[in-house]
């Protein structure tokens, strides 16, 4: 069978178009950025006009230097000159840059930006074309890009449905709906949802991955992307879309399954960290005094620890033997239970029937879940009989989870404490106090809902940070077992042969980067939209 190329047979027609659009976009973007440095960009300054010579300098220099760098790297037509005589080529490039800068100065900034967007949309459209055509044709026609797009059909459908529904009903959806007014927020949400859906359909239902992420197929070791599978039967997918790694496993499937691990652990760990932070930060900020001093000292203690050192000390097989992660889990996981119980009690305690019926049931369910999570058969903390134990978390996952929660909690604590200090002097808090509400009611039902904006924004950023921490753990081979498909571990495994085989480490690297980027953009969009009202 044929080796699959990146864009297949159709690529021969589409690639030149796409490349032209991309180059146009990049060149225009450089021009636009250069023009942005020229003070005339915001309209003439009537009182003290900037002389044209100054306005020209920025754009000309930037364009000149970019040209020079391009010719040094052998891309542009000036390459032969650059390699022959560096200083001469620099002068030529600067002169060319000055000419281009002058030309730019004559065009209005608006015009350039319109052109940039036009080029951008054309590029995007052409890229979309690869993906869309790929959905309907055989892998050989549209190549690796098309084939991957085809594998991702469940994700595309889910994304499309979510976006269409959200945009249709965005006025009724509160802060989430407002996100669709900001392009940055929409891109961020798109990236995050892409990975969430890929994790659900790929790692959860196994609809996307082409092979078993752990299966090693002989003859597929260290292969470049698009290699046909050796000894494939009818049932097998005929290619390793993104090549094979050093242990002859499918890089594409590993990246898909890796997303499942990250998408579950990172948000869950962040939620737990926030529960700890909220449950401790609210009273620390609200009551102040000695409680605040002690808790702040403890949180500073953890924060003063270099994170990596903490990981190296905490996430080792020896520590698992001592049962320390289980004890930590006992402490850290109790906070959500306290949070839910206190919140419900402080709000509903005067309702008839609540204390005798609903509250005990809620409490029992929470404690049962807590004990199932904490207790493990044959481990130091083994309180529930196996029959009642709902789920067992594998020891190494628990360890990774607990350490990420542990590292993130103090920061969450600091944020909640700071926000509480800020908000507790507001009038509505005073009003609640005059009404005779208890302190916990005020903290959980007056203060907390009012600081949710900054908390949600920070929550998104923290998930990104937790993702990075998970990757760091994997990168140092800590915690998860060495053949686990999570991104950090895969990057670490692939980096040894990086100079020859690029795909094994780069695929998880770009996956991780896009997820964290999505979360950061989402946080940025949320911040912008929540500040607007």
């Amino acid at each position: 069978m044929q080796h699959l190329s990146w864009t297949g047979t159709l690529g021969a027609y589409l690639n030149p178009l796409f490349l032209t659009a991309l180059i146009c976009f990049l060149a225009l973007a450089v021009a636009a950025i250069a023009r942005g440095f020229s003070p005339r960009a915001d309209g003439p300054n009537l009182i003290n006009p900037t002389p044209p010579s100054v306005s020209l300098m920025g754009p000309s220099l930037i364009i000149g230097l970019v040209l020079w760098l391009l010719s040094l790297s052998g891309v542009s037509l000036l390459a032969p000159l650059a390699l022959g005589n560096m200083s001469l080529s620099l002068i030529v490039c600067l002169i060319l840059g000055a000419a281009a800068g002058y030309a730019l100065y004559q065009i209005s900034a608006e015009m350039i930006f319109k052109l940039v967007w036009l080029a951008f949309y054309v590029t995007l459209l052409l890229f979309g074309l690869y993906l869309v055509i790929g959905l309907f044709v055989k892998p050989a026609t549209m190549g690796i890009v098309g084939a991957i797009s085809q594998r991702l059909i469940p994700t595309w459908i889910a994304l499309a449905v979510t976006f269409v529904l959200s945009i249709l009903f965005k006025r009724k959806l509160g802060l989430y709906g407002k996100l669709f007014d900001s392009p940055i927020g929409m891109i961020g949400l798109g990236l995050v949802l892409f990975w969430i859906f890929t994790a659900i359909f790929g790692a959860g239902f196994d609809w996307i991955a082409t092979h078993d992420p752990l299966a090693q197929v002989s003859g597929m070791k260290n292969k470049h992307p698009g290699i046909p599978l050796q000894g494939a039967t009818e049932a097998d997918y005929p290619y390793y879309l993104l090549g094979g790694d050093t242990l002859a496993r499918d890089v594409f499937s590993r990246a898909i399954f890796g997303s499942g691990i990250v998408i579950v652990i990172a948000p869950a760990a962040t939620i737990f960290a926030f529960m700890v932070g909220i449950t401790l930060g609210l009273p620390a900020g609200y009551f102040g005094g000695r409680l605040d001093t002690v808790l702040s000292f403890l949180s500073n203690l953890v924060l003063a620890f270099p994170v990596i050192l903490l990981f190296f000390l905490l996430v080792t097989p020896e520590i698992v033997q001592t049962g320390l992660p289980n004890y930590l889990a006992v402490i850290l996981f109790v906070f959500p239970v306290i949070f839910i119980a206190v919140a419900q009690y402080s709000k509903n305690r005067l309702k008839p029937g609540f204390l005798t019926l609903q509250f005990p049931i809620l409490l029992i369910i929470c404690i049962w879940l807590y004990l199932s999570l904490v207790s493990e058969t044959g481990k130091p903390v083994d309180v529930l009989p196996p029959m009642l134990d709902l789920f067992d978390v594998p020891a190494e996952i628990l360890l990774v989870f607990v350490s990420v929660v542990f590292v993130n909690s103090p920061t969450a604590f600091r944020i909640v404490r700071g926000l509480t200090l800020d908000v507790k002097t507001r009038d509505y808090v005073a009003a609640a106090q005059t009404r005779g509400e208890g302190p916990w009611y005020i903290m959980l039902w007056e203060i907390l809902p009012n600081v949710r904006g900054p908390l949600i924004v920070d929550f998104c950023l923290r998930i990104g940070y937790a993702t990075i921490l998970l990757g760091t753990l994997g990168f140092f081979g800590l915690g998860l077992e060495s053949e686990s498909p999570d991104w950090g571990t895969t990057i670490n495994a692939g980096r040894k042969l990086l100079s020859v085989y690029l795909a094994p480490p780069l695929v998880p690297a770009f996956s991780l980067m896009s997820l964290v980027l999505g979360l950061n953009l989402l946080a940025d969009g949320l911040r912008e939209e929540s500040l607007r009202d």
Binding site: A304, I308, I491, S499, A509, L517
Partner: protein, 348 residues
């Protein structure tokens, strides 16, 4: 001010004591000691042999006692072992030397002996710290001006296209952890698969002789990740200053825009980034460990990895002390610096 510094120093010492104690406990948990014994002795020791090995070397006296000995406030142990030899802490856990001092802990300047490097811990830390210092110096040189320039340009006209593009670029760099950007850099600029081969993928040769070719990529990898955050903070502080009344006054007086930015706004806008830069330094330590592992630059971060993966107790403790001191010192400097730079606080 003096009282403030004194109190901060007190809290700092207390924090350092607590943290080293935690590290001490974690490194001397029994499974870790067992690993140490098997590493030092031989791998096929029975449980009883391990216990006697550790007992002979004073590891089973109780954590507080051991910690006190390490710190140098309690006299080092002298134990007549089960094998008949008398060992003492102050003779390198070996057979007692007649002129060995009574106390030999950190306070006496004895940081112990590294079991991985077979060298005294203070020597290891000194040489490696110097190498990492070189790396950090260049990181600072690249990162701080870069971040400040990006932040100032983005913040001087809030909401402009320049602001939007620079802010997005800053977000991209903060979303790219060192192990991702490092791998991407190595793939693009050093691999034979891409074929550019502008730089070297290993910085080992930079330890003696740092050149652009072997040192740029590690420096850039660390600098990029920190740069985005500082740039965003600078931008935030710059936009705040640019909306201040006195800037409007200057504008109405007819001061040119460049002068407003450079002479009026910049100085006030740089107060906040100063603290951010200071607080960013401990975070750079993470980057240092990753980059030194990735580029095989044998500095302090590399030592941390070696010490931790071999459970080299003395070395790990020293590394922890250095790390903690860096964190606390930068916090102190940022607090003091903030007070000095901000006239509103300084005068009151």
């Amino acid at each position: 001010m003096g009282m403030f510094i004194l109190r901060r120093t007190g809290v700092m010492l207390l924090t350092a004591l607590c943290l080293t104690f935690i590290v001490f406990i974690l490194t001397t948990l029994y499974p870790n000691l067992e690993k140490l014994a098997k590493n030092q002795g031989n791998f096929r020791m029975s449980d009883a042999e391990v216990a006697s090995y550790l007992g002979n070397r004073g590891y089973t006296q109780g954590k507080l006692q051991n910690y006190g000995e390490w710190l140098g406030v309690l006299p080092g142990y002298v134990i007549k072992g089960l094998d008949g030899k008398t060992r003492s802490r102050c003779s390198n856990h070996g057979v007692v030397e007649p002129d060995a001092p009574k106390f030999c802990g950190v306070l006496q300047g004895n940081w112990g002996f590294s079991s991985v490097f077979k060298e005294s811990v203070s020597d290891v830390v000194k040489t490696r710290l110097a190498l990492t210092g070189k790396l950090m110096f260049w990181v600072m040189i690249v990162m701080i001006p870069g971040a400040l320039i990006i932040g100032v340009f983005a913040g001087m006209r809030e909401g402009s296209r320049l602001d939007r593009s620079l802010s997005t670029a800053a977000i991209v760099t903060t979303a790219t952890p060192e192990y991702v950007s490092g791998v991407i850099f190595i793939a693009i600029f050093t691999s034979s698969a891409v074929g550019l081969k502008w730089f070297k993928g290993s910085a080992t040769s930079a330890m003696d002789n740092a050149t652009l070719e072997n040192f740029l990529l590690p420096v850039l990898t660390i600098a990029l990740y920190g740069m985005g955050y500082i740039a965003r903070m600078t931008r935030a502080s710059m936009t705040e200053v640019m909306t201040a009344q006195y800037i409007r006054t200057a504008r109405l007086k007819g001061v040119s825009f460049a002068n407003i930015v450079l002479k009026h706004a910049l100085r006030n806008a740089l107060i906040a980034p100063f603290t951010v830069i200071m607080l960013q330094i401990p975070w750079l330590l993470n980057g240092v460990v990753i980059v030194e592992t990735l580029f095989n630059f044998k500095g302090f971060g590399w030592v941390l990895v070696q010490a931790a993966s071999n459970n080299d107790i003395d070395l790990l403790l020293a590394v922890a002390v250095v790390g903690v001191i860096v964190v606390l010192l930068t916090q102190l400097i940022s607090d003091i610096g903030y007070v000095f730079l901000n006239p509103r606080i300084r005068i009151s």
